[in-house]
């Protein structure tokens, strides 16, 4: 019995490792092609590099963070420090529900609201708003646990010296800053890899230039992988493999940072 369990658990672990390693390995050689990171794709993505997709993904991440961090932090502080207990529970289960909504729904919602109703069109702005709609509850759900884990003695200690609610909240943020950082990294990972919400709101298969204003459409890594695999022939598949490999490597990096910050906290 013990051996069966052991073999099974190693098996599961090896299967997961196999998935990651085979994705990375199958695309890894292409990352070293000259111009892979710096050139534009050419001849229906069969030559050239991924420069606009990489930059587009980074721009999108920048905007998503600019929107999600302030809104998410304010929401988290409200949930953990300010809201009465019942309201806080209600709002948190709302955030949890939003977390389990399929991501294409955020795409369709964003299409209806940001692209059409608000008239932002298929654009960087619409895509980052749609992605933020998904990222904010994800961030709040994770970060609020870290704020709640701050012992009440710390809040009382601050208050008992005559501090205001605002000052005690700052102290709570300070005490949970590693956890907040972890939540940010997890949100970054989720938003970076999410495809569906941007597929219909701002990402395009091909654009001749980088977006130079918020209302321009954008090329990104995950949507380009999707587009190549769905629409193009064998000669272009290497680029999708290269991008997939790059994305997995980036995710491994992000999760390693998360693990490191967690370890530091324990020490």
């Amino acid at each position: 019995m013990r051996w069966t369990l052991r073999i099974l658990s190693y098996g599961v672990f090896l299967a997961m490792l196999f998935v990651l390693v085979s994705i990375v390995v199958s695309g890894l050689p292409y990352l070293f092609r000259p111009g892979f990171f710096t050139a534009w794709p050419k001849r229906a993505m069969s030559e050239g590099g991924i420069f606009p997709m990489l930059v587009g993904s980074l721009m999108l991440m920048g905007l998503v963070f600019a929107i999600s961090i302030p809104v998410g932090l304010v929401g988290t502080i409200f949930l953990s420090e300010l809201a009465p207990r019942r309201l806080s529970m209600l709002l948190q289960s709302l955030a949890a529900t939003m977390n389990s909504v399929p991501s294409i729904v955020y795409g369709v919602f964003g299409l209806a609201l940001f692209c059409v109703k608000l008239g932002f069109g298929t654009s960087l702005l619409s895509a980052s708003l749609a992605l933020s709609t998904m990222s904010i509850p994800f961030f709040m759900n994770s970060a609020v646990e870290f704020l709640r884990a701050v012992p009440k003695e710390l809040r009382e200690g601050v208050i008992s010296l005559g501090a205001s609610k605002f000052q005690s909240t700052l102290m709570v943020l300070r005490a949970s800053r590693n956890g907040i950082l972890t939540s940010l990294m997890l949100t970054l990972g989720r938003a970076f890899s999410e495809t569906a919400p941007i597929l219909v709101t701002g990402a395009v298969f091909y654009s001749t230039k980088l977006p130079d204003k918020l209302t321009d459409p954008v090329m990104t890594l995950p949507t380009s992988i999707y587009a190549i695999v769905m629409n193009l022939g064998e000669r272009s598949q290497w680029m999708a493999r290269g991008m997939a490999s790059l994305m997995v490597l980036i995710m491994i990096f992000i999760y390693s940072v998360v693990q490191l910050t967690r370890r530091n906290k324990r020490e």
């Binding site: 012992p151 710390l154 009382e156 208050i159 008992s160 010296l161 005559g162 102290m171 300070r174 005490a175």
Partner: protein
């Protein structure tokens, strides 16, 4: 007889429907150590936390009766910041802030508007000396406070409170999480502090109350059952529960 700092009149305290204190009447005098004693759940922490209105933070808490601080009803005070500077509190579990030793002690001063470096440095040193911690930490003021031992952390919390130059120091079982040596150091410290400050300490240790307090208050099931000079109560307890406490049958 020294001056009365706190006068508690007909005090009732509730958590939602649960009545934690009933009809407590009590005077706490200046520059003495008053110990609040009683078994767990008797309301002693509630009483202490009423004195700097920390219970305001707890949802469902309410209060009837009056607490006068030097003649002023504390539940009518608007500026709690200044009041809590004068009546400050040390907790059961040491709760150093996630910052350096220096910044921990300076924290209270900073939130009360003192930012000049030379003054901060002087006051922090003075407070750490008063808390008998200076010699142990003077070389590592920039180190994180969480690296100190439990006993040192608790003295740091006392220093943090003393830095505000308070009138009253409230302590909620400050030694219950500490070993005997650290406990002894803090007890000695409290005896010294009582020459300058009014000290109110919640404790469940009869020995501690006998060692350091001038007056003792016994609470039982939310009622005050006995209070007076520690020495005379130790000799001639009037109430059955007090007797049991003194003889070590409970407590």
């Amino acid at each position: 007889m020294s001056e009365v700092v706190f006068e508690i009149k007909d005090l009732y305290a509730f958590y939602d429907d649960h009545c934690a204190l009933q009809n407590v009447n009590l005077k706490i005098r200046e520059k003495r150590v008053t110990a609040i004693m009683g078994p767990s759940g008797c309301g002693k922490s509630t009483l202490l936390r009423c004195l700097n209105r920390l219970n305001d933070l707890i949802p469902g808490f309410s209060l009837k009766g009056q607490i006068l601080f030097r003649g002023q009803d504390i539940y009518r005070i608007r500026d709690l910041t200044e009041y809590r500077r004068r009546v400050t509190m040390v907790f059961q579990k040491p709760n150093p802030f996630p910052m350096s030793i220096f910044d921990n002690v300076a924290y209270g001063l900073r939130i009360h508007g003192i930012t000049k470096k030379s003054i901060l440095r002087e006051k922090v040193e003075h407070a750490l000396r008063m808390a008998a911690l200076w010699d142990e930490v003077k070389e590592k003021l920039k180190k994180p406070a969480v690296q100190l031992s439990g006993g040192q952390q608790q003295r740091l919390c006392i220093a943090r409170a003393l830095a505000l130059e308070p009138d009253v120091l409230l302590l909620d079982e400050p030694t219950s999480a500490l070993d005997p040596i650290a406990t002894m150091k803090i007890e000695r410290l409290l005896e010294e502090l009582a020459q300058q400050y009014t000290v109110v300490i919640v404790t469940h240790s009869m020995g501690q109350a006998l060692r350091i307090s001038d007056e003792v208050v016994f609470l039982y099931e939310g009622r005050l059952i006995e209070y007076g000079e520690t020495s005379s109560i130790a000799k001639t307890p009037r109430h059955e529960v007090t007797k049991q406490f003194l003889t070590g049958k409970i407590g």
